[in-house]
Amino acid sequence: MTLNGWIQIALYGAVVLALVKPLGSYMTRVFTGERTLLSPVLGPVERGLYRVSGIDARQEQHWLAYTGAVILFHVLGFAVLYAILRLQAVLPLNPADQAAVAPDLAFNTSASFITNTNWQSYGGETTLSYLTQMLGLTHQNFLSAATGIAVAVALIRGFARASTGTIGSFWVDVTRATLYVLLPICIPYTLFLVWQGIPQTLGAYVDATTLEGAHQTIALGPVASQVAIKMLGTNGGGFFNANAAHPFENPTALSNFVQMVSIFVIGAALTNVFGRMVGDERQGWAILGAMGVLFLAGVIVTYWAEANGSSVLNSLGLTGGNMEGKETRFGIAASALFAVITTAASCGAVNAMHDSFTALGGLVPLINMQLGEIVIGGVGAGLYGMLIFVIVAIFVAGLMVGRTPEYLGKKIEAKEVKMAMLGILCLPLMMLGFTALATVLPAGLAGPANAGPHGFTEILYAYTSAAANNGSAFGGLTANTLFYNSTLAIGMLVGRFFVKIPVLAIAGSLAAKKTVPASAGTFPTHGGLFVGLLVGVILIIGGLTFFPSLALGPVVEHLAGAAGQTFATGG
């Protein structure tokens, strides 16, 4: 570990924190329908969209209607994306003559992009046409992110309102998230990325003759416009197979830094939106504080583990930490930091190959996802995931003192706790259930590229990433098979909707409740005690659920590596 590494990490934290208030303030105005700086330009576009779609912007929805709209929007989006993938061979803008995507891969990829997972069973530059990348993937990058923000805002309204039957209009929320938040940031962001060196062209792949006379085909495309939204929307699906490790997706240390900031910025600012809308910004800072504690712990462990390097390679006389799977321009600090950020948020973009991380360095991304990506999290999804844990933490606190728990003046009762538990429990069911299945079926065992405990971790990581809607991978796993494509897709869909629907049910239930005035017996939820309780509950639930699986994978691997043991495939 170097001083410079820590300065990079500290600078990162400072920049994200500095953006929380301004962006939080702006987004609050957007979602409460107030005028913003961009209203003169975007207002007419927005009203035009409502007019042609037959939407009355003042007509709010009951939580069931809101949920119906969410599901309908996803089903239609799925159908469009699936059709584009299957038909790309006969559609225009296909200079590399990519063939139609196979049905199981198209199913997996459609599920992956509508759920904001962006798991890549495909390699972008070898599978997808430019049109598919733009019309299919870039557009779902926007819409799945906008949907996440919409659901988070709906839940915030549930806390902020009292005695009402509605939680907002999904159509308005998704339109505003796209038009006022995502697009205006992506336009200058794309230009910045091109300035840093990311291609943005419809031209065909280029054939180069290298200095030594060999031929090199260089894949190109409209990359920058997709990279901007893939980071900002915490989607993470790369234009290229190697994702943000590819020099055309992340050419410089500066582009890397800005990409890391853009992964966290909306999720972090949403905690401020939460605070503002419930009328007490400190509530938002408390939640951000709990996220910050977990984040910092993860960064310290990963950076330490990667800087120390792998015991096996160190025993060959290698020094300088673990550089396998990492790029020179980023080095160890920026690669370790990126790995923690991308799995804390539900981004899943990678600037280094997690599969080649040390056992403990790879353990942190795994835990981040298993906890449900509540540390900043996916845009929207992180906040509502964290609020689910808040409900459980408040419930536990209530049990300890024998009072009906309250949060922000709302009584937390059986319905909310049941829904919160449903949202929490569906993730381990998918992650651990499918991992268990894959480790006994031949089709599952055919997947891992590494032998021994690392092979097990590859499987565990895949289902964890899918159910948590992350999309990063231990990339050695051969996942483009019928078995993995379909089981991972199921994991992604369940992980998305069995969290979203309970969250919207909680939103509806909370909105209908009366607000109870605070009294001497009310547990303050903006201080250090609450942050500590929340972090404790998260770690206990996560630890009890996942420790056995982690012990079988990364922990065993760490101990075996320290003892000098290696594992050969085929043996």
């Binding site: 969209l49 090199q216 997709q226 190697a242 799977g325």
Partner: protein
């Protein structure tokens, strides 16, 4: 649900056109106008032919060139399309090795590369980046130490004094951005192009 069908269909179509066509196409036009060379992939032309991209690494095997890092990229096997064969720096199929920390294959590969490099220059420790593959398999850079490490070999092959080469390497080091971000590095293709210029009259 049916009442929602029209908003869903129309809004999805409209937002698809805005975000999936209008946005990327407008960005392509704008980027091409403001940064034409970078938008097209930062290609380097020499005597009328494209020799590569300044951002994408390429294979250098001869002793008279500075070498990049090992690359784990592959290509389809010409004999059997369902299999792959190693194809270092294949810029049409980026990928890392994905070998884990306890992989026997990784340990063997690193040991083999270490032995070969030690035979070439036994005076200094082998820099870690010269025996590890990058995440993309297309890393255009090596560390300044890795460039210095190769100076004796290149000097022998080109019959150039080592001091001149060390000065060349030093002039090609890119520092951390703003003195803080990333790591110091040397772009291998740029270094080799400068090397050719050094030799040419």
């Amino acid at each position: 649900m049916l009442r929602q069908l029209r908003p869903a269909l129309v809004l999805l179509t409209a937002l698809t056109v805005i975000t999936g066509l209008a946005y990327p196409l407008a960005m392509t036009g704008l980027a091409g106008a403001i940064f034409p060379a970078r938008a097209a992939g930062s290609l380097i032309e020499r005597d009328g032919t494209v020799v590569g991209s300044s951002l994408i690494g390429q294979t250098f095997a001869g002793p008279g060139y500075f070498h990049g890092r090992p690359s784990a990229t592959t290509a389809p096997d010409p004999a059997d399309a369902s299999k792959t064969v190693p194809a270092p720096y294949n810029a049409a199929n980026s990928s890392g090795s994905n070998l884990g920390p306890t992989s026997a294959a990784l340990a063997e590969r690193v040991k083999g590369d270490l032995d070969a490099l030690k035979a070439e220059n036994a005076t200094v420790p082998v820099p870690v980046d010269l025996v590890t593959t990058s995440g993309s398999g297309l890393d255009p850079d090596i560390s300044p130490e890795a460039a210095d490490f190769q100076v004796p070999r290149v000097a022998r092959a080109r019959k150039i004094p080592e001091d001149r080469l060390r000065a060349l390497v030093a002039s090609r080091i890119e520092g951390r951005t703003l003195g803080i971000l990333g790591e110091p590095r040397v772009n291998v293709l740029a270094l080799n192009l400068a090397l050719e210029d050094l030799v040419r009259p």
